[in-house]
C-alpha cells in the first residue's frame, strides 16, 4: 500500500533507489584503480602514492585496503538488488515472494495456536464448572482476565461506575456459566431509553426516582415516592412491576442496593432523564471460543466456587 496519492512518487523513489545502488557499484569500480604519472624510469609497481598532491608537496600515500573488503562491498550491492527483487521495497512493487508483515503476524498466531491450542481445547471439552475447579485453568483464566477484562472491570473484577461488579451474585443478564460465556462471546448492549418526555415534568422524574430508591429501602422521601409509584408503570415493562429487573433484557434489579451508575437521588434522576447506553464488546472473533470458555469459568468462580476463597 502506498500513502501517496500520485503514482509518480513511487516510480520516482524506485528509480532513485536503483540509480543509487548502481551508482555505488560504479563508483567503487571506477575508484579501485587510478592512473598516475610516474617519474621516468620508475617501476610502476613501486609507486607508493595515489598521485593526489595538495599544497605543492602534500601527497596521499596509497595504503591499499584488502581486496576482500571490496568484494564485501559488491556483495552488499548484489544483496540489495536481490532483496528489492524478492521483498517489497521499490515503490509499490510487492516483491517476488509476496511477503507481508500482516502474514508474519498471522503465522505467529498460528504458531501460538499450535502450541497452546490443545490445552485450551482440552478445557473446551469440559463443563465450565469442571474447568472452574481446575487450578491450572484458574491461573490461565486469571491471566486472561487481567489482560483483556481488567481495564474495565478492574483487576479484582469488582467493576466501577458503568462497569458491573463480577464478584457478587447480582447479574444483569444471568450468572449461569453458559450465560456468562454467551455474554463474553457475543458482548452485550444495554440500553435504557430517556424517560423524561414520557414521564412528563421534572417533578415526575424526581418522584419516580424516589419511588425507585424506596424499592431497595435506600434513602428517599416517602411522600414523593408515593407520587412516583403510579408513573413507575412506564418502567415496569422492563424492570418488572416490583422493580426486580429482567435478565432476558438486561434490565437491572432496582430492589437491591447494587447500582451500576450510583444510587443517589441525583444520579437516579439523571439516569431516568437521559437514559443509559452501555456496551460490553464481543470477544468471540478476538479470543476464540476456547479461551472464552476458560475465561467464563474464571468469572463464574469469582462468585461461586470455593476456589475463590483459597485463591492460590
Amino acid at each position: 500500500m502506498s500513502d501517496f496519492t500520485n503514482g509518480f512518487w513511487n516510480i520516482y523513489i524506485a528509480v532513485l533507489t536503483i540509480i543509487s545502488i548502481i551508482g555505488c557499484g560504479l563508483l567503487l569500480w571506477s575508484q579501485s584503480k587510478v592512473r598516475m604519472e610516474k617519474q621516468p624510469g620508475e617501476d610502476p609497481a613501486s609507486v607508493g602514492t595515489t598521485g593526489h598532491i595538495w599544497d605543492v608537496d602534500l601527497t596521499e600515500l596509497n595504503t591499499p585496503m584488502p581486496r576482500w573488503w571490496m568484494w564485501l562491498f559488491y556483495i552488499t550491492i548484489v544483496f540489495a538488488l536481490a532483496y528489492l527483487f524478492l521483498y517489497p521495497g521499490l515503490g509499490t512493487y510487492a516483491g517476488k515472494l509476496g511477503w507481508k508483515s500482516s502474514d508474519a503476524y498471522q503465522s505467529e498466531l498460528k504458531k501460538a495456536e499450535a502450541e497452546y491450542g490443545p490445552l485450551f481445547n482440552k478445557y473446551l471439552q469440559q463443563d465450565i464448572k469442571a474447568v472452574a475447579a481446575d487450578p491450572q485453568a484458574h491461573v490461565i483464566g486469571e491471566r486472561l482476565f487481567l489482560t483483556y477484562c481488567a481495564q474495565c472491570h478492574g483487576s479484582d473484577a469488582r467493576g466501577s461506575k458503568g462497569f458491573p461488579n463480577l464478584t457478587d451474585k447480582d447479574w444483569l443478564y444471568g450468572g449461569d456459566p453458559e450465560v456468562i460465556k454467551t455474554t463474553i462471546l457475543h458482548g452485550r448492549n444495554g440500553q435504557m431509553p430517556s424517560m423524561a418526555a414520557a414521564l412528563g415534568s421534572d417533578k415526575d422524574v424526581e418522584n419516580v426516582a424516589h419511588y425507585v430508591l424506596s424499592l431497595s429501602d435506600s434513602t428517599h422521601d416517602p411522600i414523593k415516592a408515593v407520587f412516583g409509584k403510579s408513573k413507575f408503570a412506564m418502567c415496569a415493562g422492563c424492570h418488572g412491576a416490583a422493580g426486580t429487573g429482567n435478565q432476558a433484557l438486561g434490565a437491572p434489579n432496582l430492589s437491591d442496593k447494587i447500582w451500576l451508575y450510583g444510587g443517589g437521588v441525583e444520579t437516579v434522576m439523571e439516569t431516568i432523564r437521559k437514559g443509559r447506553n452501555n456496551t460490553m464488546p464481543a470477544f468471540e472473533t478476538f479470543l476464540g471460543e476456547a479461551k472464552v470458555h476458560v475465561l467464563a469459568a474464571y468469572v463464574w468462580s469469582l462468585s461461586n466456587a470455593p476456589s475463590n476463597a483459597d485463591q492460590k
Binding site: 584503480k33 620508475e42 466501577s160
Partner: protein, 461 residues
Amino acid sequence: MDKLSPDLAIVKMYSAREEIYPREIKGRYASLRWICLWLTQLVFYGLPWLNWNGRQAVLFDLGARKFYIFGIVLWPQDFIYLAALLIISAYALFLFTAVAGRVWCGFACPQTVYTEIFLWIERRIEGTRSARMRLDRQSWSLQKALKKSGKHAAWAALSIWTGLSFVGYFTPIHALMGEVLAMGLGPWEAFWIAFYSFATYGNAGWMREQVCKYMCPYARFQSAMIDKDTLIITYDRQRGEPRGAKGKDAQNGDCIDCSMCVQVCPTGIDIRNGLQYECIGCAACIDACNSVMKKVESPPGLIRYSTERAITSRLSLAEMRRRVLRPRVLAYMALLVLIIAAFFTALAMRTPLKIDVIRDRGVMAREVEDGMIENVYRLRIMNTGETPHRFHISVAGIDSITLATPPEVDIDGATTRAIPVRVRINPGKGAHGSSTIVFEVTAVDDPAVEVREKAVFFVPR
C-alpha cells in the same frame, strides 16, 4: 584496455592478501599460549555439558528469557549484572593493556586461539612452513588434493563442533545433540550452528590476521592505551644493529639477520621495524629469537618484553619493573577490585524475588462497607529463584490499612504471577489525595526472601 602512455602507471587501491605461513615455534611463550588455549577451550567446549541440580549448569534460555548460571537464575531485569560484567571486562582489558600491551590479543582472544588450533591442524596435515609454501606453489595433483581436502575436512569438523557447543549454551545441549543425531534440528538452531561454524571456519581458517588488521576495533584502541612504560615486544636495536653474521665483522651487533622472527610472525611483520599496529603481542618472535641466540651463543633477550622508556633510557630491569606500577595502573587496579567486590556482593545479596505494583486505573478509590476506602492494585510477583514458595503479602504506611484479599499465594520457581489485591483503610484515616504505602512480600518458609515496594493510596475528597 587502452594503451597507457609510458609516463602513466596504474595504481591499485585494493590489494590481494599475501598468504602468511607462520613457522612453528616452541618456547616459553608458545607454551603459555597453549596453556591459555587449553584453559579457555576446556571451559568453552565443556561448560554446556555440566549439570547442576538436574538442569544444565549454564543455559541462556532466550525464549523464556531466563539465564541459568550454576546456582543463580538471572531475569531480564538483572541486566545490570551483565553490564557490570562488561565493565569488569573492560577495566581488566585496560589494566592488562596498560601493563603488558596486547596480551589479550596474543594469548586469550578467540581469534588467536582458533587460528592457533587451525594452524596446528594445518601443520599436521600439510607439514612445516616450507612444505606448505611448496605445496601451494605446486600444480594440482592427487596428493595436493588429498592434503587440502583433508585439512578442510578437519577444519570443518572442528568448526561444526564449535557451532554445536555455542548453540548448546542457548538450547539444552543434550536435547540439541539428540536432535542432531535424529536429523531433526529446528530451523533457527540449524541456522545458528551453521552461522557460528562458518564464522569459525572462515575466521580461523581463511581470514586469520586480516581480522586483527582490518576488522577488530580492539586492535586499534588497545594501541591507544599503550604508553612509554607499557611492556611491549621490542627489538633491542642498540644491541642488534648492525645486522650480520656473528664474528664476520667486529662491528656487527647480535642480530644475525636470520629472519626467524619474521617467519614465525602470524601477522607477517618484521618486529625489528619497531612497534606496529599489526603486532598482536603473541611473543612468537621472542621465542624464535631466543632459540637462535642460544644456538649462536649470544645472551637471550634481543627481542623481549620491554618498555619504550627502558630501551631508550637503558633502564635496568628493576627500574623498568618499578615504572610499570605507575599511577594509571594502580588506579585501574583499585577500580577493578572495587567493581569486582561490588559485583559479587550484589550478586550474593540478591533476593530471588521481585515485585511490581500496578495501580488499577479504572477505579481510583471506592467506598465499601462501613465507609472504608478501598484501592485496587495488581501485584506482579516474580519468583526468580528455582524453589517454589508460598508468599505472604502485607501492606503498611497508613493507620488501619489492611489487605482485603487473601494474603498468601503459592508461586512456582522461576514463575511470575499477577495477583489482584484490594487494600482498605478505615473511614477518616489517611489524608485526602495520595499517600505512600508500602507492600511487603515475604516467603513464608524463608523470611530472608523479602521485598518491599512503594505504591500510592488514594483517598477521595
